[in-house]
């Protein structure tokens, strides 16, 4: 039976063409060059297509991400055969697969959302339908529509990979492609629809005057808890879920959930564990803003408004994802020589430091070369777009092009595949719930809480030291 790309990513051996950090640096330089060129062509407000309006460009950016996740994670590169994946030149492979991802993206956005849903279901998915309303300009009609479509993508970019990473494709994991891909696509699209209706639909329902009481809950049910009627409250935790899925998959190697032996218990623990970790991030990053900038004031604009603070939580989370993916894709998930908890902790610390550096560098300089707005909080300052655009390029480079040219793809032998699996299992087996482990965990819990307290106490002073942009 044809395996298409099933386990292709695990079963390929990427061989460095040069020793040391040179391949990673070459890849970084190459992908940043592609990033900047494509940013200028598609997104930059000073460039050619100027899609960074911001929602229009963001919509395509998010859906392109989903397309690649669908093609690689849900469908295992189906209908492309394994031999084609292994023998085709990475440049050809990259071009073909990228073009296909863009074609599906356009069909989905223009055909399914704007054409089908927008004309036969919910008017706000189609700009032309919105323009029929009195007083709505074509620009904002397009922006509202793009916002709705991209929010669907944001939810799907959490749930689609979560089903693969957390639920391990179950209960369809033994099914061949494309049946498995379509099954997971159906369930994740269905779940995304439900999440969309209870998170973003009420946001869309109050975009119009008077509030659309008859079709959406108004004011939205989260108003008192989140201190805003804006759906950005949900954008925040959903973005955190998206980030945590990839952290679990890459730098955390699914630890500690992979210690659970029972399949279904492990799957559900991972799925809901991702949500719980994301919620912890969601609340902490909001609190961090309160500690550094001061308490949010409902009704105000920009950096002090709760709705923007929630949005910024998602933005901060994305800064964490960028170094995590770089470490995983181009640094062979360094380090690997210690036990799994030590490896995971080291990578997490490295990524945290890198995320802070990237955050500072972004806000200090992005307006100088990306055409974005200076400052943190302008509605048109959307760091999620350039960061996800870069991530998209890395995904295309890593998944579709085998990290060419700094690496060469060689299929692993059956022996190597077996050895890798044994090594991974040995890492898991190395963690034993001995009395010392349990004692260590108890001490660790206390240290963790202490670390949190110290961080929270130190944050205001730390922020004062780092003068990113003039504060007021």
């Amino acid at each position: 039976m044809e395996r298409f790309g099933e386990h292709y990513l695990e079963e390929r051996k990427l061989v460095k063409r040069w020793s040391g950090p040179i391949p990673a640096l070459v890849s970084l330089l190459l992908t940043l060059t592609v990033f900047y060129a494509t940013w200028w062509i598609f997104q930059d407000p000073r460039g050619i297509m100027r899609m960074y309006t911001p929602y229009s460009g963001y919509m395509y950016c998010r859906w392109w991400l989903i397309m690649m996740i669908w093609m690689v994670y849900l469908f295992d590169f189906w209908p492309f055969k394994r031999k084609w994946l292994e023998t085709t030149h990475p440049l050809v492979k990259g071009a073909v697969l990228t073009l296909i991802s863009v074609a599906i993206l356009l069909i989905l956005v223009k055909g399914f959302f704007e054409g089908f849903l927008g004309n036969y279901g919910l008017a706000y998915f189609n700009p032309e339908q919105l323009e029929k309303l009195d007083g709505i300009t074509s620009f904002f009609a397009a922006e509202y529509s793009a916002l709705a479509i991209l929010m669907f993508a944001a939810i799907a970019s959490w749930l689609s990979p979560a089903w693969v990473v957390a639920m391990e494709n179950a209960p369809w994991h033994k099914m061949p492609q494309p049946a498995r891909g379509f099954s997971i696509l159906t369930i994740t699209f269905f779940l995304s629809t439900i999440v969309y209706f209870v998170t973003m639909h009420p946001h869309m329902g109050i975009l119009y005057h008077p509030w659309q009481y008859f079709t959406s809950i108004a004011p939205p049910y989260w108003e008192k808890f989140a201190d805003t009627v804006s759906g950005n409250f949900h954008v925040s935790w959903i973005m955190c879920c998206t980030v945590v899925v990839w952290l679990v998959e890459t730098i955390w190697e699914r630890y500690p959930f992979n210690l659970i032996k029972n399949d279904w218990l492990r799957r559900f623990a991972t799925f809901f564990g991702i949500i719980l970790i994301a919620l912890a991030m969601h609340f902490f990053l909001y609190f961090a803003q309160e500690l550094t900038w001061g308490e949010a004031i409902r009704g105000t604009r920009r950096a002090f408004s709760p709705d923007w603070r929630w949005l910024h939580v998602g933005e901060m989370a994305i800064f964490f994802l960028v170094p995590a993916l770089f470490l995983s894709f181009y640094c062979d998930n360094w380090p690997k020589k210690f036990s799994m908890p030590v490896n995971v902790a080291t990578r997490t610390i490295v990524c945290l430091v890198a995320a802070v550096v990237l955050y500072i560098a972004y806000y200090k300089t992005s307006h100088l070369f990306l055409g974005t707005q200076k400052g943190f909080s302008h509605p048109q300052q959307f760091p999620m777009i350039p960061t996800i655009w870069l991530i998209n390029i890395w995904l295309a480079h890593h998944w579709f092009m085998d990290n060419w040219p700094a690496w060469k793809m060689v299929p692993k032998t059956a022996h190597e595949i077996e050895a890798d699996r044994n090594a991974a299992q040995a890492q898991i087996d190395d963690i034993r719930f001995t009395p010392k482990f349990v004692t260590g965990m108890g001490a660790g819990l206390a240290m963790g809480v202490l670390f949190y307290v110290v961080t929270v106490r130190a944050l205001p002073a730390l922020y004062e030291i780092i003068d990113i942009i003039p504060k007021n």
Binding site: F139, T228, A280, F283, G294, G299, S305, D307, M447, G448
Partner: protein, 385 residues
């Protein structure tokens, strides 16, 4: 089991526990009510800016543009809200190359020789080379501050956009004569946006010596425009924060990013004897609530009362909407404004929502191309005090 293995097990457990402990604390405490104990208490500075008896605002023009669809269509066509305003190819900086392909240097080169003495000619050239020049209007108002001793002092806030439209408005309200007679002490520019600032030569036509206050954050093109417009008076770049002007009047510069590549906005505070604080804004990009909160934290004012507000409140300038604006409509009640004189970028839709909410919005007369009586229109006045 050897000691080494035991130590390694302890370490693995400790690292795992630390992660769980951190995440658990993050989730349990970070959004709990207990977290508020860690918020720093802001000490009110209570800066004394003095008091004045009253301030009268004459709305010279609040119609910055006449058709939303046209303006937003231009913005969309040029690449969106982040595109540099000088590259839209709007008047007066049109270079004839079409939407999104303009530049300050090209545009000013065509009209500089006529500034500020022959604005008819300058605008005629601009019309030939610009995109939708007839959609340009402008924002500007006259402030008449009565001091406690009865002395009255006049200031302009902003100078609009279209030379043609603003000249008509200045003449309609007698601003031209006031400027010629040097009755107006200074021009405060709220921010660098086209509709507040590009009409600068109209003010300078009648008084090139007038003192100009601009907020910190102007781009080089904006500063050059002052020179190119023929200004011969004093130019003061106001630093971020509070700046006392005359007894009972202060300006405040907010360092905020604004669409169309603009940075920083300057607004005005007045402390009216026995009434309270009056806030006057150009566009209030900082947000009306932050404006009020800043006053609360920085300034001492009569009765600790927010008495009134005038100007564009920048809520839905294009009659667009966002749930965060509902947050504002719902929250404004807390601040207890007694008189709200809004217009311009507040948006008609928002003014109507304010009225539905029961706020004391002062209605206008909808004359001289203002759209709706829901807010103060062109030629309308409001007096605080």
């Amino acid at each position: 089991m050897s000691d080494t293995i035991k130590r390694r097990d302890f370490l693995k457990g400790a690292i795992t526990g630390t992660g769980i402990g951190v995440l658990g604390a993050m989730g349990a405490y970070s959004y709990s009510g207990a977290r508020k104990a860690l918020f720093s208490k802001t000490e009110r500075k209570m800066t004394d800016i003095g008091t004045c008896r009253s301030v009268k605002v004459t709305n010279i023009s609040e119609t910055s543009w006449f058709d939303n669809q046209t303006l937003v269509g231009d913005i969309k066509g040029a690449g969106g809200l982040l595109v540099d305003q000088y590259s839209y190819n709007w008047a007066p900086f049109g270079n004839g190359n079409g939407l999104g392909k303009g530049s300050y240097a090209d545009g000013i080169a065509k009209i500089k020789q006529y500034l500020p003495h022959d604005l008819d000619k300058a605008w005629e050239i601009a019309q030939e080379n610009s995109v939708n020049p007839d959609n340009a209007g402008g924002y500007s108002c006259l402030l008449e501050v009565e001091e406690l001793d009865g002395n009255k002092r006049k200031f302009l806030l902003d100078s609009g956009w279209s030379y043609k439209w603003m000249d008509e408005c200045f003449k309609r309200e007698g601003i031209d004569k006031m400027l010629e007679n040097r009755e107006i002490e200074a021009l405060f520019i709220s921010h660098e946006h086209f509709d507040h600032y590009w009409g600068l030569p109209v003010t300078l036509k009648y008084d090139p010596t007038i003192t100009i206050y601009i907020p910190e954050g102007f781009y080089p093109e904006g500063k050059q425009y002052i020179k190119d417009s023929g200004h011969t008076g004093k130019l003061i770049e106001v630093k971020n924060g509070l700046c006392k002007q005359i007894p009972g009047m202060a300006s405040y510069v907010f360092p905020i990013p604004i669409i169309c590549r603009v940075y920083g906005e300057q607004s005005l505070y007045f402390n009216i004897k026995d009434k309270g604080l009056v806030s006057v804004t150009g566009c209030c990009h900082q947000g009306i609530i932050r404006f009020a909160e800043t006053a609360y934290n920085e300034i001492k004012y009569e009765n600790d009362q927010c008495h009134g507000i005038y100007g564009g409140l920048h809520i839905s300038p294009f009659d667009d909407w966002d749930p965060k604006y509902d947050d504002l409509v719902i929250s404004l009640e807390r601040y207890g404004f007694e008189r709200i004189g809004c217009n311009h970028c507040t948006g008609v839709l928002c003014a109507k929502k304010f009225i539905s909410q029961g706020y004391p919005v002062i209605e206008g007369t909808a004359r001289f191309r203002s759209k709706d009586k829901a807010y103060l229109g062109n030629g309308d006045t409001i007096t605080f005090g």
